[in-house]
């Protein structure tokens, strides 16, 4: 464990050092000025407001959108993944078709499509709702991620031996109960690394939501550059890169560690 942790830490600080090096190379003697700009704009980039007592977007919006999309994609992905293993060929083939359709849609295209497909105002039972850009972003990102999650679940379900289904059926369990009580609890540990990898990928994908008009970190970055000048564009984008890296790297590293642990456990019985 400790050796892997050392490697992970070297990787973590190594990448940060590289970003720092690029920063110094780009700004040379003006580095201090750039640092001051970043310090002044940090709260705006992180939480979308100038003081830390109110929240308007920024990197926090990316986190919120990613979590919301992940919840939606997980719920829909379980059902869809279950349907792709259904005994009924109609249900199964429809589900497989839907998965393939969703999985092969370019993320950016889906996001643009949501922009025009979902109206700004939605009237449900006479009540008018204003559909925020963030909500559209969540819907748009959920489309491809639902497909990935359903594949993760399908693979997990199929990793459990057929004998488990058979003995559960012989005990009188029905399909839904077998999935819930017997198959998923066994499949879940194996799915965790894939779920985490999918989430890291989704998180990186949140950088695309800028096209929906959400006040995510990238749109804030554009505003900052517009007001502080193009000279600081490199610094701002390096900072955004750093944020994404700090958030995603531990997830990716942990998922790899868990995967290895599971593989070892599998080998040793």
């Amino acid at each position: 464990m400790s050796r892997e942790l050392t490697h992970a830490l070297i990787g973590f600080f190594g990448v940060i050092a590289v970003l720092g090096g690029v920063f110094l190379a780009a700004y040379g003697g003006d580095s201090l000025d750039a640092v001051i700009v970043l310090t002044n704009r940090a709260s705006l980039l992180l939480i979308g407001s100038n003081s830390f007592d109110s929240v308007g977007g920024g990197f926090l919006a990316n986190i919120g959108i990613s979590l919301a999309s992940m919840v939606v994609a997980t719920v829909l992905g379980v059902s869809l993944g279950g349907a792709t293993t259904a005994p009924n060929p109609m249900v199964r083939n429809t589900a497989i078709l839907v998965v393939n359709l969703m999985r092969n849609s370019p993320w950016l295209v889906v996001l643009y499509a949501m922009l025009y497909l979902i109206p700004f105002r939605l009237s449900i039972f006479g009540t008018e709702y204003w559909v925020s850009p963030a909500a559209k972003a969540v819907v748009g990102l959920s489309v491809p991620v639902t497909a990935y999650m359903s594949e993760v679940f399908r693979a997990g379900i199929q990793s459990v031996p057929d004998g488990q289904w058979e003995s559960a059926r012989a005990l009188g369990y029905r399909r839904g109960a077998i999935l819930r009580r017997i198959i998923l609890p066994q499949a879940l540990p194996q799915m965790i690394p894939n779920i985490m990898t999918t989430y890291a990928m989704l998180f990186i994908g949140t950088s695309l939501v800028v096209v929906t008009g959400t006040k995510d970190v990238l749109s804030v970055a554009k505003t900052v550059i517009a007001s502080d000048g193009d000279d600081y564009a490199t610094a701002v984008y390096l900072f955004v890169l750093l944020l994404f890296f700090i958030y995603c790297y531990p997830i990716a590293t942990a998922s790899r560690a868990i995967e290895q642990k599971i593989r070892k456990a599998g080998l040793h019985g």
Binding site: G163, Q164, L171, G172, Y173, R174, A177, I182, Q186
Partner: protein, 249 residues
Amino acid sequence: MAEPIPPIVQLTDVRKAFGSVEVLKGISMEVDAGNVVCIIGPSGSGKSTVLRCINGLVSINSGSIRVDTHQVETLRTEKMLVPLRHDVSMVFQQYNLFPHKTVLENVLMAPIQVLKRNPDEVRSLAESLLAKVQLADRGDAYPGQLSGGQQQRVAIVRALAMEPKVMLFDEVTAALDPEMVKEVLGVIRDLANEGMTCILVTHEMRFAEEIADRVYFTDGGIIVEHAPPKQLFHNPEDPRLRAFLDKVL
């Protein structure tokens, strides 16, 4: 004159095809309550499929299967099959215990969750059954911590906890080391002596001869010959049965 008691399991001209391959080509079989029937035959002859048809794991193409009051081929949905699964339990070659549940949970789950039985009653039944197979102290163990023979005894207990009228055993000793075969066969012998109706697919010919009331020999999806064990093993009529016995005895 008393009415003759009808057999508890009755298969009549059962046919089953997987795709275009006909695996069962007209199987008829009768098992009286309290009897032990063994099915022997070469690999691929359809023995496991017969058992799976009896508890509705496999649906048949034609013919009929009756188990006690259940007309199996008419049970089309999983929900309709539940009462049948209550009366017919099955034990598999690979044990198929649930690895994420303890021994006791494996035994308790289905009676409580499927049959909605009273948890306290099921628990005391489970404990006495586990004690009977010398596993009273292993209730909290996980299946992975047990030997193959112990796992198979747990699987038998799990099947018995459903309080079935008929027990199906599909080569339950085939995956076991020789020293563990005995302990599992011992459990089945006790069950048979207590009057449980048992249908066994087995390669243990001596055990079949000792325990069975009747032995069925299958080959190529049909019942070639059936008779009480003495006659079938010592006076086989069909040349296919003779060739088979020459090979396995």
